[in-house]
């Protein structure tokens, strides 16, 4: 069932037929067909590894398909590179944005094509006027002479959009555009996107947020294992069906399913005990964390929620000894503590699952066993010599217990999937029986199936007496905790109990901005 409503080829904004792409050892795309009606907003969803990013790379001209064809506005084209794609009118707005922070808005919009007067001199006035017009088309009115680095995330995204439109984009691919935007900006972005669609621009919206897909998009294509698993109008398919298509089996009733559908999340914790494990008073770290005060009870699952950049990550690092505090007092088991480095915190039984596992979490060339015992070398050695057999047996035990998909414990960590890597880092703390787990964005970049496993592991840990702090920008995860502290601009601005949050998490979202 395609989403193009008949009519001539001009009605089809983007047409992809039989596109296949293989990399050494893996068939990333196996004959994908996609038809997007001109002027519609089409969602593209799928798990990591389903082929989304490969398809985006092909559509944006960064990679060439092994087989298949692409037509833009009814005209078959072949992209030899991103410039070709842009000339054909296909522009991609990536999550990380591709602006130069040290240049002005106008210079960014005209990057590489500055308007010139006779003799090759830059026509600053014309550039300013044209840039202001381009910006107005996407609903923004700020001074185009400002440096991009001074703009907010939403404003920068606006510049990126203006840049694409100025180059006469006919097809816009948006890769996870809302992950760093506060709610009001998301709403405004959607208004702009709708307007562009009405003007005839074809939009491909890549996201994992069901509520946004349904709020914005006319149709949705689900990719799974490199092929199209579903291709329907959003009015004809339910969120559950989308999730089932993404995963290949029904997840109804699981924690992850509820989280994906943005519904009432099950409770991860077993409820806090009366014993206070850790308490902080007036904790600060520069301007990133301001005057934070709260108590943490043993057995509790505490959520730190907020938009990306609100301070949850920084607070998590602070509590785990990874960041220096500039003020305030922290007590652990009623003793005043001051962590000069992560080692101090680790010794007291605190373990951190960092936000960026690639940059902070694991040693890529080292094998699974080595990564799992990295924080416990003294437990696995005698007189400085590592006890190989003991290390291997503990690692094997962890692999089995956490359901890690590895062919051997000697496999280098970098070859594993995101979810398995995350479990490996979790194993690092379980292996030394840590009592407090601080998880910073625990399921970022992790597939639905592995997400489920992570939530279960966290639940098991909490139910066997462990304490957990989850810092997350996903409201669904925050809603799984016993208690949620909402952070904004480094300070705690609200506190909610699990039962005090409505099923859609509206009270949380409203307190974010």
């Amino acid at each position: 069932m395609g989403s193009d409503g008949g009519g001539g080829a001009e009605q089809v904004g983007l047409y992809v037929e039989g596109v296949a792409k293989s990399y050494p050892g893996v068939r990333a795309l196996k004959g994908v067909n996609l038809s997007v009606k001109r002027g519609s907003i089409h969602a593209l969803v799928g798990q990591n590894g389903a082929g989304k990013s490969t398809l985006v790379k092909i559509l944006s001209g960064a990679e060439a398909p092994d087989e298949g064809s692409i037509s833009v506005g009814g005209v078959p084209t072949r992209f030899r590179g991103p410039t070709d794609a842009q000339r054909a009118g296909v522009h991609t707005i990536y999550q990380e944005l591709s602006l130069v922070p040290t240049l002005s808005v106008a210079e960014n919009i005209f990057l590489g094509q500055l308007p010139t007067r006779a003799g090759g001199r830059v026509d600053w006035e014309a550039m300013r006027d044209l840039a202001t017009d381009a910006l107005a088309r996407v609903g923004f009115g700020f001074d185009v002479r400002r440096l991009v680095s001074s703009l907010s995330g939403a404003e920068q995204q606006g510049v990126e959009l203006a840049k694409a439109l100025h180059k006469n984009a006919r097809v816009l691919l948006l890769d996870e555009p809302t992950s760093t935007l506060p709610r009001p900006d998301v709403a405004r972005l959607f208004v702009v996107l709708r307007k562009l669609a009405d003007e005839g621009v074809t939009l491909l919206f890549i996201s994992h947020r069901m509520d946004e897909v349904y709020a914005l998009c006319d149709a949705v294509t689900v990719l799974r294992d490199g092929a199209v698993a579903a291709d329907m109008m959003t009015t004809d398919i339910t969120p559950s069906d989308i999730v089932t298509a993404m995963v290949g089996k029904s997840l109804e009733g699981t924690i992850a399913d509820a989280a994906l559908r943005g519904e009432r999340s099950p409770h991860l914790g077993a409820g806090p005990s009366d014993e206070v494990l850790m308490s902080v008073r007036g904790l600060s770290a520069g301007s990133a964390v301001c005057d934070v005060t709260f108590d943490l009870h043993r057995g509790e699952v505490l959520g730190l929620a907020g938009l990306v950049g609100s301070g949850q990550s920084e607070l998590a690092s602070l509590l785990a000894g990874a960041r220096r505090k500039t003020g305030g007092v922290m007590t652990f088991h009623s003793e005043i503590v001051s962590f000069a480095n992560p080692r101090d915190a680790i010794r007291r039984g605190i373990g951190l699952l960092p936000q960026d596992r690639k940059a902070q979490g694991f040693v890529p060339e080292m094998n699974v066993a080595g990564n799992v015992t990295l924080a416990s070398l003294s437990l696995f050695s005698r007189f400085g010599v590592i006890k190989g057999a003991q290390e291997r047996s503990s690692a094997s035990e962890m692999v089995a217990r956490l359901g890690m998909k590895v062919s051997s414990i000697n496999q280098p960590m970098k070859t594993l999937s995101g979810g398995t890597q995350q479990k490996g880092i979790l194993a690092r703390w379980l292996v030394r029986s840590s009592q407090l787990l601080i998880c910073d964005e625990p399921t970022r970049g992790v597939d639905v199936g592995a997400k489920e496993d992570m939530y279960e592991l966290i639940r098991d840990f909490a139910r066997s007496g462990g304490t957990v702090i989850i810092a997350s920008s996903e409201t669904s995860e925050a809603m799984m905790c016993d208690r949620v502290l909402v952070m904004a601009r480094g300070a705690i601005v609200a506190e909610f109990d699990h039962d005090g949050i409505d099923p859609q998490g509206k009270v949380l979202l409203e307190s974010f901005a």
Binding site: A322, P342, R343, L352, V363, M366, G370, L377, V385
Partner: protein, 363 residues
């Protein structure tokens, strides 16, 4: 052995709690210590090529010469390996070697015993290494810059201490210990470098210190967040590099029977080249000491063959440079993989035409 060991390791994973037999264990041990087989194949090929190209190559005398010269660089290369493993580099080792010869010669001349002299020299060189470590760890200077600076400073210092054109060494027990003498029918310098290599390999593979260096080089932030003593271990690593450069200097001083600040120029590049030819990545986190030593020998033999063929020193430098480029491209830069991918992409067999790219298929 290569056929037996995979079974042993497979058996270990399947039945982790059964005790492996002693034979299985020692077989596995040797296998884990050996470098990648391709490196040994290259070494073998070069030896075969050398014996072809020059009749004097495979003589005991020539072998002795090669090993004697290689011993010095090999000892330095082990120290350099550990520094490179952490993602750093030590450009000062050549100068430390020079300083070592000067201090040894001076202390011997002043009447100190061989043992005490060696001890004082090594202590000074370790201190120099520690100084490098302080610059890198506490002042947070990039290792390249820090050791480039100390390379210059230490050389100057050696020259100042030296004050004369060169200092003769005539202490027999010193010369015996580090050059002439033999123990267990093996020349002492060879014994020293073998001992250093074995200890280095054991530390790298089986000690918590070695494991922490792999982590620090592979992902320093992950190492820090796992509670590893990053700063302390980096300081120790630079100290080891200085110490081993000093030990190499003792051997050099005994061989040349003199101490001079002019000895050892360019040795740091030999050590670094050997480490990289041996497959270590300059970004850190990869490699092993034995491969570094194999790298030393590969380069030393190539130089030796060029000498025997009478190639003068300037063309030798050009050839040496080319060898390093090729070797590093193949090993550390993943050249072997890139070449095979290139071959696959441009010479993929087309069912209509059949066969390889010589028919112009594939673009």
């Amino acid at each position: 052995m290569t056929h037996k060991v995979p079974e042993a390791s497979a058996a270990k994973v399947a039945r982790p709690h059964e005790a492996a037999t002693a034979k299985e264990r020692s077989g596995a041990l040797v296998k884990r210590l050996l470098p990648g087989s391709y490196l040994l194949i290259v070494l073998l090929l070069i030896i075969i090529a050398g014996s072809y190209m020059s009749p004097d190559f495979m003589t005991p005398r020539n072998a002795q010469n090669v090993i004697a010269a290689a011993s010095i660089v090999a000892v330095m290369a082990i120290g350099q390996f550990f520094v490179v493993l952490t993602g750093g580099i030590d450009l000062s080792v050549g100068s430390v070697l020079a300083m070592s010869t000067v201090i040894a010669a001076l202390t011997l001349q002043s009447g100190m015993s061989a043992g005490l002299s060696a001890g004082v020299t090594l202590a000074c060189c370790a201190a120099a290494g520690l100084f490098n470590g302080v610059l890198v760890v506490l002042l947070k200077l990039a290792p390249f810059i820090a050791t480039l600076a100390t390379m210059s400073a230490i050389k100057g210092l050696s020259y100042i201490i030296q004050s004369t054109s060169l200092i003769q060494i005539s202490n027999d027990s010193f010369i015996d210990a580090f050059s002439r003498g033999t123990s267990f029918a093996v020349r002492n310098p060879v014994l020293i470098f073998i001992a250093v290599t074995v200890v280095g390999a054991l530390i790298a593979k089986f000690s918590t210190f070695g494991r922490s260096l792999y982590a620090i080089g592979g992902n320093p932030e992950a190492a820090r967040l796992s509670g590893l003593p990053v700063n302390r271990n980096l300081l120790i690593t630079y100290m080891i590099s200085g110490l081993l450069a000093g030990l190499a200097g003792l051997i050099a001083a005994a061989q040349l029977r003199q101490g001079s600040s002019l000895i050892g120029v360019g040795y740091e590049l030999d050590a670094i080249a050997a480490v990289v030819v041996g497959g270590a990545s300059l970004f850190g986190g990869k490699g092993n000491p034995i491969s570094a030593v194999v790298g030393v020998f590969i380069l030393a033999i190539i130089v030796n063959v060029m000498n025997l063929l009478g190639i003068s020193s300037e063309p030798q430098l050009v050839i040496k440079g080319l060898v390093i480029i090729i070797a590093v491209f193949l090993s550390s830069a993943g050249g072997v993989q890139r070449i095979s991918e290139f071959g696959k992409r441009h010479f993929r067999s087309n069912p209509a035409v059949g066969g390889l790219g010589s028919l112009g298929v594939g673009r």
